[in-house]
């Protein structure tokens, strides 16, 4: 079986091309016949179990985007063996923005003791302000950003070490 993510979910499937226009697709125990009637750049006419679909597709760094009648899906490779979707962030004391944004305020400095839920950084994306709060109580060990910086999901803006956890020197 292959695994990919469709938006935020992991899907297991099997797909085999036959002569370049027929695709045999096994998904959730079902088997589906796909025939490509026509394919142009970013636009494809396909029959899925004899039902016609017009699919628009485009790719970028994040994966392949697919459009069908007003519904868009992002299909991505699943990295690692058991699927967490990459956008999910564990609550490990690393403060990161949920979307590309600009830092508008930093409300804590290294060495501060912070409470769970305390606001640490304010970011702004497209006029909307988002306040990033500590996911747990602890001590701020690092502030890795500055006001005005453009930041991306995954960038660790502030690190919080939980109360009572010994710094392992790493």
């Amino acid at each position: 079986m292959n695994r990919k993510s469709v938006d935020d979910r992991i899907v297991e499937f099997d797909a085999t091309w036959d002569d370049g226009v027929r695709l045999d697709m096994k998904l959730e125990g079902g088997r589906h016949e796909v025939k490509v009637s026509f394919s142009a750049v970013g636009r494809h006419q396909v029959l899925i179990d004899q039902m016609p679909h017009t699919l628009f597709t485009a790719r970028d760094e994040s994966g392949v985007w697919v459009w069908s009648r007003g519904r868009a899906r992002l299909v991505r490779e699943v990295k690692g063996h058991h699927g967490h979707v990459p956008t999910e962030q564990p609550d490990d004391g690393r403060i990161t923005p949920p979307m590309p944004a600009v830092v508008s305020a930093i409300l804590a400095k290294a060495g501060d003791s912070v409470k769970k839920g305390q606001e640490l950084v304010v970011v702004t994306a497209m006029k909307m302000e988002t306040r990033l709060a500590a996911g747990r109580a602890g001590v701020v060990t690092a502030v890795n950003t500055e006001v005005g910086a453009s930041v991306m999901p995954g960038d660790v803006l502030i690190e919080v070490r939980p109360d009572g956890e010994v710094d392992d020197g790493g």
């Binding site: 485009a58 790719r59 590309p100 600009v102 497209m126 006029k127 909307m128």
Partner: protein
């Protein structure tokens, strides 16, 4: 009439204004920031001036640079669009002082209406009903609490100068008031440079119904009927329609008269919008006047056969209104859906990025005012609106079906959008019944998730795209392309959909 007009805005609204200027034979000047070098509005203008870096404060909010750009290019007037400086009296003032024409109301009228507590007082004096609440802004938490108790919970904490839901908080319980007031004041200060707030009664599930007005410099004022804009998320509209399914001829007449009284009281000129809330008992209350063109102005244009931007330009040039109230007769039904780069799955969080595919809805009764194209950036610095899709039909049911059809054709890939959410909303039973109110999304759409029956076609699309891509870059049959297919020279063995080479 003017020969050249500078459009002090960006994105779809700048493009929309320039289209009318082109039709009127008036040259247009675009302004742009670093982030917008390749933006559509720059391509649509006759001339473009770079005005600064991507931060709004050093470009689209920079009065000095905008006025200088107009003078240097020989423009005689400035159209402000919506958002940015469009409702800033200092901007209107600076434009006028530089000997140019500001396409909008006078800075005095704007200042009178922009201060919301002052606007309330003005409306009370001219007999326009207002929402019960405070008449003056207040900073003292004790006095705010007193006013909230007197008004009765739930209350709405609002920025005295504001709009678009910024600096606005609903407070249900007295113990939450102080924090809400602090946040609202902070937001208001950051967004509008004025942290004054006040309190008014929070109305449960009202309709948002607004009236378009037009006033010339010769004392003529008309209203152009209503737009219902109840479908909102985060206090911002996403779907608007006209006529409102919730008001009858008598209420329409009384609200239209009130809108004209409001405009007259404020000494208003040019295009504006008087916003009202209508409660469950069909009482209406003045909300505010938007002293500019609204995002949703096209639905009025569709039902009346008018071009509001053309009328704005003509009024600014001193022409009298070409018609009177009795001549204005709306026909049919129009709906607008705003196409935002945002993710309805995560609370309508903005979704900036690069658009990698963009289709154009077409066919009978469809208008698409778009600011994007395949390859366009949706910058993180600005409002996430990418375009607005408008349909017109002879009645509401037909218009809804037409909008669903047009949204299905409105391909946008590369950023998340609300298109799928809006399709499901439009097809929902309560919307079909016209049971629309500002709590509609919370009441009827809060558990919404994208259609789960999409895995099959999504994986087929993925497979076909990879296959077509491989054919285009010359990967021989039987070789693999995973995400590494981005590097056309990289071939990893047998073609299989998991991307895990053979």
């Amino acid at each position: 009439m003017f020969d050249k007009i500078l459009v002090a805005n960006r994105g779809e609204i700048a493009v929309r204004v320039m289209r009318t200027l082109r039709e009127m034979g008036i040259a247009s000047v675009a302004v742009y920031s670093d982030a917008d070098k390749g933006a559509l509005h720059v391509q649509c203008a006759d001339q473009a001036v770079h005005i600064g870096d991507s931060e709004p404060a050093s470009s689209y909010l920079n009065i000095g640079k905008l006025v200088d750009a107009a003078i240097e290019t020989g423009a005689q007037a400035i159209h402000p669009g919506y958002g940015f400086l469009s409702e800033n009296p200092e901007f209107a003032d600076a434009v006028t002082k530089a000997g140019l024409v500001f396409i909008g109301p006078t800075s005095d009228a704007m200042a009178r209406l922009g201060d919301k507590t002052n606007a309330r007082k003005m409306m009370l004096q001219s007999g326009v009903p207002v929402i019960p609440g405070m008449s003056d802004p207040e900073a003292d938490p004790a006095r705010l609490a007193e006013a909230a108790d007197k008004t009765g919970y739930p209350v709405l904490v609002k920025a005295a100068s504001g709009g678009g839901g910024k600096g606005m908080r609903v407070v249900e319980h007295p113990e939450d008031l102080a924090k809400a007031a602090r946040i609202a004041a902070g937001e208001a200060g950051a967004a509008f440079g004025n942290d004054a707030i006040y309190i008014e009664k929070y109305l449960d599930r009202p309709r948002h119904v607004e009236f378009q007005i037009l006033a010339d410099h010769h004392g003529n004022i008309v209203h152009l009927f209503e737009r219902e804009c109840s479908i909102q998320r985060r206090h911002q509209k996403i779907i608007e329609e006209t006529p409102s399914p919730g008001i009858d001829a008598d209420l329409r007449k009384r609200m239209g008269d009130a809108a004209i009284s409001a405009a007259r009281a404020a000494g208003y000129t040019n295009a504006g919008t008087v916003e009202f809330l209508v409660d469950r008992e069909s009482n209406f209350y003045f909300l505010e006047v938007n002293t500019r063109l609204q995002v949703e102005h096209p639905i009025t244009e569709m039902c009346l056969g008018l071009d509001l931007v053309r009328l704005q330009v003509q009024i600014a040039a001193g022409a009298p209104l070409p018609f009177s109230q009795g001549d204005v007769c709306p026909r049919g039904h129009a709906i607008e859906c705003r196409i935002y780069a945002e993710d309805p799955v995560s609370g309508f969080m903005p979704s900036p990025g690069k658009v990698v595919a963009a289709g154009t809805p077409q066919g009978p009764g469809v208008r698409y005012d778009s600011g994007i194209f395949a390859g366009a950036d949706v910058p993180v610095q600005y409002d996430p609106i990418m375009g607005k899709l408008i349909v017109y039909a002879h009645d509401r049911d037909t218009a809804i079906a037409r909008m669903v059809r047009a949204l299905e054709e409105c391909v946008v890939l590369g950023v998340r959008t609300s298109i799928e959410f809006m399709i499901d909303l439009l097809k929902s039973e309560p919307f079909g019944h016209g049971d629309t109110h500002t709590g509609f999304i919370e009441d009827h759409m809060s558990g919404w998730v994208p259609d789960r029956d999409s895995d099959l076609w999504a994986l087929v699309g993925d497979a076909v795209e990879r296959s077509a891509h491989n054919a285009a870059v010359g990967v021989p049959k039987g070789s693999v392309a995973g995400d590494d297919a981005f590097s056309p020279w990289k071939r990893l063995g047998r073609w299989d959909l998991g991307g895990r080479g053979g």
